[in-house]
Amino acid sequence: MTQLLETTNLTAFYGDFQALFGIDVSVQDGECVALIGSNGAGKSTFLRAITGMIPAKGQNVNFGGQNVAGMTADKIHKAGMAMVPEGRRLFPSLSVEENLLIGAAGKRPGPWSLDGVYDLFPDLVAKRHNPGTALSGGQQQMVAIGRALMSNPQLLLCDEISLGLAPKVIKDIYTAVPKIRAGGTAILVVEQDVGQAMAVADRVYCFMEGRVTLSGTPDSLTRAQIAAAYFGSNEDEEAA
């Protein structure tokens, strides 16, 4: 397996506020990696930094053999990184099918097409001409994932895809992950549900307060280690 994504000492700021402190994260070709951590730990900021939504100029984000740090979001997308944004962010005035087609606007070649997405999420077929935002939360999430897949990404980024969804719906959505990986796409998920993350990922990184506090394969990590990395090991640090 070759390295697909590698960040070295990545930092990010919102104005004067530093949100990330030297993050080293890597994803191999075809791998599924999960980022866990509590609210405000910096997981979503990390995704925003590598996709070009917040400036990362002069830093090191190696993706598919080139440094994409400082490139604009649309260029990074064309390089093969597609995002399922937090809150889904479907285009309300577009139908389900039009939302999917927007994803294909960059014309990257690859296995995914409208038919492929409808095979992956058959629930969407009957709704293809409905406005995207008229669907249930789970179906909207399927559209958001499908829209990202339409660009035939090498790396699919999923930000909080299970947030606000019923457990049954989350299970349905996660059954798509192996099928997506079968097409050769690597996946980086941000997930607050540790159990779900452990079940689906090859490796996990735990974020806390803008730093990676733990990483490894799910079976190499104990519950105690994860709890310590997730919540902080001593009370003083928590208070700070």
Binding site: T72, D74, P85, L94, I102
Partner: protein
């Protein structure tokens, strides 16, 4: 009979107002951009047409193509290198910049073409008409303007709802922050929207040049009619803009039927009345 005639002429005049307004409506719809220099762009297109035809003796058909190409190109470049810089959450900077452009354009036109009013001689088109009855006849030029308005708005509607470009424009209108994550380049998409709007501005300018006398300071009044048509129709709705133009046109011709001095006033009064009754316009989309 004279009233029916007035309404009919008003509907046709509404076509011209819809042409004035369509570009404004489009730019506001895609990027919430209010172009105060819109009327001056229309007048610039009219001057360009007159300069090509009477100044350089270019065949009118060729001149039309040249005007439309110039306007579309200039629109793209203007958005890409200037107006994109002031686009943002705050709507005030674009208003200030285009207000400045409006003053610059008016003075430049004054410098180049003098304060004399101009008109594009349109030959038989100026007076030719179809007689329907003793009291009612329809001029070829107003009929052409109305047909052009319907064609332009129908064409824009097709572009917006049936093409990949239109899909991207609507997506950008919904959520410009997310579009780059889907591979769209906002700077380019905004410039394409302005180029399309400028194409319509060119068409409007050519008809303005044939329809009436105009001078370098004619822009702001056109902007006002365009604003009124857009707001009566409802923000973001193209067919609404046509309806708004027609309502404005009919109000003006009916006002003029009562007394020639009431033409413009009647239009403004109807606009104000509609603003009170339906502040969001007739067919609001946003």
């Amino acid at each position: 009979m004279v009233w029916i005639n007035a309404i009919l002429q008003g509907v046709l005049l509404g076509g011209l107002y819809a042409l004035f307004a369509a570009g404004l409506s489009l730019m506001f719809g895609v990027m919430r951009f209010i172009n105060i220099a819109h009327g001056d762009f229309i007048v610039t297109a009219a001057y360009l047409m007159v300069a090509f035809v009477t100044g350089w003796s270019i065949h009118p058909a060729v001149a039309v193509v040249l005007v439309l190409i110039s306007l579309t190109t200039a629109g793209y470049i203007n958005q890409r290198i200037l107006l994109n810089r002031v686009l943002g959450k705050d709507i005030l900077p674009p208003i200030l910049v285009t207000f400045g452009m409006s003053i610059i354009i008016q003075n430049a036109l004054l410098e180049i073409f003098s304060a004399d009013s101009r008109r594009l001689p349109a030959g038989w088109l100026e007076t030719g008409s179809i007689t329907i009855s003793d009291a009612i006849s329809i001029g070829w030029l107003p009929l052409m303007m109305f047909g052009a308005a319907v064609a332009v708005i129908g064409g824009l509607q097709l572009v917006f709802y049936k093409t990949a470009l239109g899909r991207m424009l609507r997506a950008t209108s919904d959520d410009p922050e997310i579009v780059p994550l889907m591979g769209g380049n906002n700077a380019h998409i905004f410039a394409v929207a302005t180029a399309l709007a400028s194409l319509v501005v060119g068409i409007a300018g050519i008809f303005l040049a044939m329809k009436t006398n105009f001078d370098p300071s004619a822009g702001p009044a056109r902007l006002l009619f365009a604003f009124e048509a857009v707001i009566i129709g409802g923000l973001g709705s193209l067919w609404g803009t046509l309806a708004g133009g027609i309502i404005l046109g009919v109000a003006q011709t009916l006002g003029a039927q009562i007394d020639a001095g009431y033409q413009i006033l009647a239009g403004h009064l109807v606009f104000l009345a509609l603003l009170v009754v339906r502040p969001r316009g007739l067919f609001p989309k946003m």
